[in-house]
Point group: C2
Chain length 382, copies 2
């Protein structure tokens, strides 16, 4: 048993959240109790699930992130069309409760396997594939108002961090200025019970889209000269990275700048970091960073930095369609600079990658482009 | 300029390879000189490139990895069909030489942008897309017999490491037992000039396919109880991870065990780690680990561990086709246990993921499955 061998020090600082065990665990228990009580009163057991759809989502102009409304949907046990989903919800809830009690975590794939079994006396499976368990898990998150991470479920991890921060991860003190070229692999769960910030000399966070660009900044020791924290999310940042950015921003009061490709996908990534996503609107308050700034690449940078046509990649039909959709997002409405930006992309007829900046020179992006943008505060979008 | 501000200590230990500058740089210079000499002698300039194809690859029974033969292909400057590729090869070579001289590194995407420009007096581009520059880079690697990393080119990074190892990355000493739940993000370049091993208490390396499984081992502190190093490669391991495994195996004499899904893709990943890949056969000697052991998941484990049918995923037509192809790989020929294994997969008619092991219990894989396999030395394949 690996766990018994851990030293006292380690055990005291295990990678999980004994402290908050109460919250999500208690909420699941409450859910279960209400179902059981109803049944004992000889009434039909049910669970009310807030609706996760565009129809129940709105952009709050004050908080500036996407919020979920209060429409709910009832799952009843005696309803032929709902009975299976009802049962699945309680099953996933009970598996999450086990995880919380055992102080362990699981991936969404693992929760699927944990919950899958043949129902006794039948040949029916509780779940046929993960496509069934994922939405049930999301149902549960909204029903008990807990982040997935609080239910001890983690997403895949694929980001990294280096820079002016000393922090503790599960009892280990990590100085992010002393992690060589590799850096700290950002885990799927970065809640305060796992990660505590200790000392921060950084003045801002620079989040870049891809690891290959991030490496350029690391190699040029950008974080040292500009006193910052460098993160990447391996493309669309996974939840752990977004949550870490959120915490760095709110707890350490660090401005967050993002550097993404100049294409609709880049705009979308920015939008999710900033306003949250539609599907997971209920967690915006703890994931979104309404003050996040889009440092680049901007459609105007082509002229602004005198880039050569080597950086141009023609927009395809899908890019154009996506750009027009994004233009309609309520959170870009009334934001003139954003409307100008997206229109300029369409007018250009081409997109540009951050990596294309090296067509000027390899370190142009770290030595000129980003420093210039940081100094001239009209050159980012927010 | 970021680089000037770095402290003396840091500068002395920059993340790159001044020491080896001679090797790959000198080889490129030699290549360039031979082209120029030929031209000055008024002969046709050319470059000879070893052929990278199945026809020039063989499995060496003695070294037990895939080796490249000595067939070459000539790229001549005055040949209409070869002139462009000839020019591209020299262009990429000169960009790599710049990187080496400047002691910087670039991604394959960045090398494309660095080398792309309009040829003076024409509207012709040196490269139209990255699909043209990638094979040219591979040409160059084989022509000058240098690993891509020695040409200062890095691949995308997506693996992580935790465990009983203290190492230095670019002057920073990193204790891989003290990296919390996140771990060390394995960079694209892990050559001895960047990473030096300092202290190793590990008795073996356990490499797992996915980060979600890796997290289970980290959370259960498997590395502590079993004195090992845990790595993952985020699926098919990128070059940096393979090269690190190779160095851990050869320099620290650590046995390497791999834990992959029981499907043709898992067999293929194992095959690449063990024997190298066909396309990159010229670098097998520095990437392949012929002694790597396949710990699981084995098609026989279904019976052996009394797994329930919840773990079964039906093979599709493509799985069956791939399994049959792998059965024909020369390096599996005469290896009875492997032939039995692949035949058993086909006979089962289903595949199994490592994550499916949690259908027994969440920590079954760390507390029973892997320890059992490590103890019974007939239960891995090599």
């Amino acid at each position: 048993m690996a766990r018994k061998k851990t030293t006292a020090k380690k055990t005291a600082t295990k990678p999980r959240s004994s402290r908050r065990k109460g919250d999500a665990g208690a909420k699941i228990q409450e859910l279960a109790r209400s179902v059981a009580d109803t049944a004992f009163r000889r009434q039909e057991p049910h669970v009310d699930i807030p609706i996760r759809a565009l129809s129940n989502v709105s952009f709050n102009q004050k908080t500036r992130y996407i919020e979920m409304g209060d429409k709910t949907q009832r799952r009843s046990f005696f309803n032929y069309g709902q009975a299976k989903r009802f049962m699945q919800t309680l099953l996933v809830a009970s598996k999450c409760k086990d995880l919380i009690d055992e102080d362990k975590t699981a991936s969404i794939r693992q929760i699927y396997y944990l919950a899958k079994h043949t129902i006794r006396g039948t040949s029916e499976k509780t779940f046929d594939d993960q496509g069934e368990s994922d939405p049930v898990l999301e149902d549960l998150e909204v029903a008990v108002e807990a982040l997935r991470e609080e239910l001890h479920i983690f997403a895949s991890s694929k980001g990294a961090m280096i820079g002016e921060l000393v922090f503790v991860d599960s009892g280990d003190t990590i100085d992010a200025t002393r992690l060589g070229t590799g850096g700290y692999a950002i885990p799927g769960i970065v809640e305060p019970e796992v990660i505590q910030f200790r000392k921060c000399r950084a003045e801002f966070v620079l989040h870049v889209e891809k690891d290959t660009v991030w490496r350029r900044f690391v190699e040029d020791r950008f974080w040292e000269q500009h006193r910052c924290i460098l993160t990447h999310g391996g493309g669309q940042p996974p939840r752990g990275v977004r949550r870490l950015l959120h915490r760095l921003h709110h707890e350490l009061k660090l401005p967050v700048y993002v550097l993404l490709d100049n294409d609709p996908w880049g705009y979308y990534i920015y939008s999710v970091i900033k306003q949250g996503s539609i599907n997971l609107a209920f967690e915006s308050a703890r994931m979104a960073i309404p003050e996040a700034r889009y440092l680049g690449v901007s459609a105007f940078d082509y002229e602004r930095f005198g880039l050569s046509d080597d950086v141009r990649i023609d927009l395809d039909a899908n890019d154009i369609k996506r750009a027009k959709q994004i233009l309609e997002y309520p959170w870009f409405q009334g934001k003139r600079p954003w409307i100008r930006e997206i229109r300029m992309l369409l007018a250009n007829g081409f997109k540009m990658e951050v990596e294309a900046m090296c067509s000027k020179s390899l370190s142009f992006v770290t030595e000129e482009y980003v420093p210039h943008k940081l100094k001239h505060d009209k050159q980012w979008l927010d």
